[in-house]
């Protein structure tokens, strides 16, 4: 039998993630592909904690916990340091949450992308600052509850389209992926591993704690996000060549996705319809690019 996902496990059990954490699944797949010859930079985010306290580590590769805004550029520095020593083969991976990517870290990412530094930047997107206790980020979708966007004043405004921002830098590779589709995710990680230059992968990582969902629905939710078109799976090469990796023949209504999550419970029918319309509109725009 030919396996599409490597059997090897670099990440070890015993990490500190919550039950049903999408981010820990994402890391497991990423390390399966990148292997031991990798270095991670992780800013303040859930993964700064998940890895575990000294002397325990769940990742089994060197890990640099960076200042919040600098995961990308610290990775640039690590790569430069390795280059000077002739260590060309080591994978340098910046691994950050949505806050450290969409908000505070965007300046550093943009800088590294413009210079086309040879690193892979992976954002595991759980759509809020989960580590500090569920505050909104610019990755939080329209309508969602967080502690800083309470029910009466829920998040207004669309999620920042980070992949488009990154591809506007004309980087060699930008992609979205989901923990619900590990083969696709691993294929993308493999692709990124073999490209020189700046690679950006956006992984949707459901968070039962912050989304107020049942931990058993993590994969189901990640899948529904794709099937409802709220999180389409595609890749962009050199900022121009768009490829759709998961075709959705008949999109499911967004209510299917919302009903498993507490953070959307307060939404009125009109608001849900508005969200549905904007998803359809965004999808139309995207489909034209393929």
């Amino acid at each position: 039998m030919k396996l599409t996902i490597p059997e090897r496990e670099i990440m070890q059990p015993g990490h500190l993630a919550c039950q049903g954490c999408g981010a820990s699944m994402a890391m497991r797949y990423a390390l399966k592909i990148f292997g031991r010859d990798s270095v991670l930079t992780i800013p303040a985010c859930c993964w700064a904690v998940i890895d575990g306290p000294f002397p325990y580590t769940a990742v089994n590769v060197p890990l640099f916990h960076t200042a919040f805004e600098t995961a990308a550029v610290m990775a640039s520095g690590i790569k430069a340091g390795l280059d000077v020593q002739g260590e060309k083969s080591t994978n340098v991976i910046a691994w950050a949450g949505d806050g450290g990517t969409f908000d505070i870290g965007i300046q550093a990412i943009s800088g590294a992308a413009e210079r086309n530094d040879d690193i892979t930047y992976i954002v595991y997107d759980n759509e809020a600052y989960m580590n500090t206790g569920i505050q909104r980020s610019s990755a939080t979708p329209h309508g969602a509850w967080t502690t800083t966007t309470p029910i009466k004043h829920y998040k207004i405004g669309a999620k920042k389209n980070m992949v488009e921002i990154m591809s506007a830098h004309r980087i060699p590779y930008a992609a979205t992926a989901s923990v619900a589709y590990p083969e696709d995710l691993c294929k993308k990680l493999e692709k990124a591993k073999n490209i020189r230059g700046f690679k950006f992968i956006h992984i949707l990582a459901p968070c039962p704690t912050g989304w107020k969902s049942d931990p058993k629905y993590t994969v189901k939710l990640a899948k529904l996000a794709v099937q409802t078109n709220i999180f389409p799976i595609y890749e962009i090469e050199n900022g121009l060549k768009y490829t759709q990796n998961k075709k959705v023949k008949q999109r499911k209504p967004i209510t299917e996705y919302f009903k498993y999550q507490g953070r959307f419970k307060h939404l009125k029918k009109e608001e849900v319809e508005f969200i549905q319309k904007s998803i359809d509109r965004e999808n139309e725009i995207l489909l034209k690019k393929f």
């Binding site: 206790g133 505050q135 800083t148 004043h153």
Partner: protein, 418 residues
């Protein structure tokens, strides 16, 4: 300067009834600070979640809509502090809330705020550092940073509350001081005070004094944005009032325009605090008059110190308690005065020595200065403070420099390594 004299009159304004949730509460220090800010008339918080200050931000988020206030969660701490500078210059009272690394990121804009003489309040719920440190545990190691963090010469005011009630009370005081002296005022709380839940009494609105903004009311053609009143503080105008407003972080003259050499206005940034220090400083003193040893502490440590002091007093030692409510400007005169009367100062703080250097400086070699250090994460063992007092009371010779008290933790590290 007619408008100046008018501005100097004591204006007694009371808090707005709508802003004050009069009553007794059982809340933590972070939430109390948010209630205090709203009671003081704060209408805008630009913030960014960071442990252990997030609860204060969240509490403001939840209350703001009911008092006509706005909260924006910014994209980072640079955004947070820059946005409040903007809100202040458009005419409202504003605050930002942060901790540790966020505080570090804010430094440049603290300097800008000081340079523009912008009245704003910064709540720093200190955690252990450096860097990410211990996000959920206490520290007091940002004290020097709060004073010296940005580039250039300027002065700030820093207050260190030691209970949720004080988080409420002193947040109001912080706003009043910032309006009065047009400078950044920092509430240097710590994780213990921020996360401690205690009874907080919110008084009636007419019991809360509010310092109104000192707006310029003179003729438009005579307005100079940095022309000071007698107390060295210039009245303010806000954007959109029709005054010619040129506000610059470049070294500027009274008009606000850039100059090519140092101007008296930069010296004034320092002088307006230094020369008004007596009016600004608040200290809590207990049994100081006949004390042999005075314990100087602030924030949560001042509450921990009480037990050590009581233990020492029970043994018959004459111990005074000097609690710094205002840490900056530092009470130089009081410490110098006391140094002539007492044998020693004992300074416990959750760091490896910061405010102790100020105490040593102001003691002028007249009295011994004993540091009781503690790494971030936990509060002192009161036993350590007691032992340091005992040592300080017994030591007969004058020791040059700071004496570091060897705490249990110190012994643990060094005996283990030797």
């Amino acid at each position: 300067m007619a408008f100046g004299i008018e501005a100097e009159k004591e204006v007694i304004m009371k808090a707005n009834k709508k802003d004050v949730l009069t009553g007794s509460y059982y809340i933590d220090g972070d939430v109390a600070a948010a209630y205090g800010a709203i009671a003081a008339g704060c209408k805008f918080v630009g913030g960014y979640p960071i442990t252990p200050s997030t609860e204060a931000f969240e509490a403001f988020v939840h209350r703001a809509p009911y008092v006509g206030g706005i909260t924006i969660q910014m994209e980072d701490e640079l955004g947070s502090i820059a946005s409040i500078l903007g809100a202040v210059w458009s005419g409202k009272k504003a605050m930002t809330i942060t901790s540790g690394p966020g505080f570090s990121l804010m430094m440049e804009n603290i300097g800008l705020g000081a340079m523009l003489e912008t009245p704003f309040v910064l709540l720093n719920v200190q955690r252990s550092g450096p860097s990410t440190g211990l996000p959920t545990q206490a520290g007091q190691a940002d004290m020097m940073q709060s004073r010296w963090g940005a580039n250039g010469d300027y002065e700030i005011i820093a207050i260190s509350p030691d209970s949720p009630q004080e988080m409420f009370d002193y947040t109001i005081k912080a706003f009043n001081l910032s309006e009065k002296y047009r400078c950044p005022v920092m509430i240097m709380a710590d994780e213990c005070v921020g996360h401690m839940t205690e009874k907080v009494v919110v008084p009636e609105a007419d019991k809360i004094n509010i310092e109104p903004r000192r707006f310029y009311k003179g003729p438009k053609e005579k307005y100079l944005p940095f022309k000071p009143d007698k107390d060295l503080v210039p009245p303010m105008a806000k954007a959109g009032d029709g005054y010619k407003l040129h506000i610059s972080g470049l070294t500027h003259d009274e008009k606000g325009y850039p100059t090519f050499s140092q101007t008296p206005d930069t010296k004034r940034l320092v002088d307006k605090i230094r020369l008004n220090a007596d009016k600004i400083i608040e200290l809590n003193e207990d049994e100081i008059d006949d004390a042999d040893v005075v314990v100087v502490s602030y924030g949560i440590t001042s509450r921990v110190a009480i037990r050590g002091i009581e233990q020492a007093r029970a043994k018959g030692l004459k111990v005074g308690n000097l609690r710094l409510v205002t840490v900056w400007p530092f009470p130089e005169k009081r410490i110098a005065e006391l140094s002539k009367k007492v044998k020693a100062f004992v300074v416990p703080e959750i760091n490896y020595g910061q405010i102790v250097y100020e105490v040593e400086r102001c003691a002028h070699g007249n009295a011994n200065v004993v540091l009781v250090p503690h790494g971030g994460g936990f509060v002192h063992n009161p036993e350590d403070i007691f032992k340091a007092i005992k040592y300080a009371a017994q030591e007969k010779k004058k020791v040059e420099g700071i004496i570091e008290h060897k705490t249990e933790l110190y012994r643990l590290i060094h005996e283990k390594n030797s």
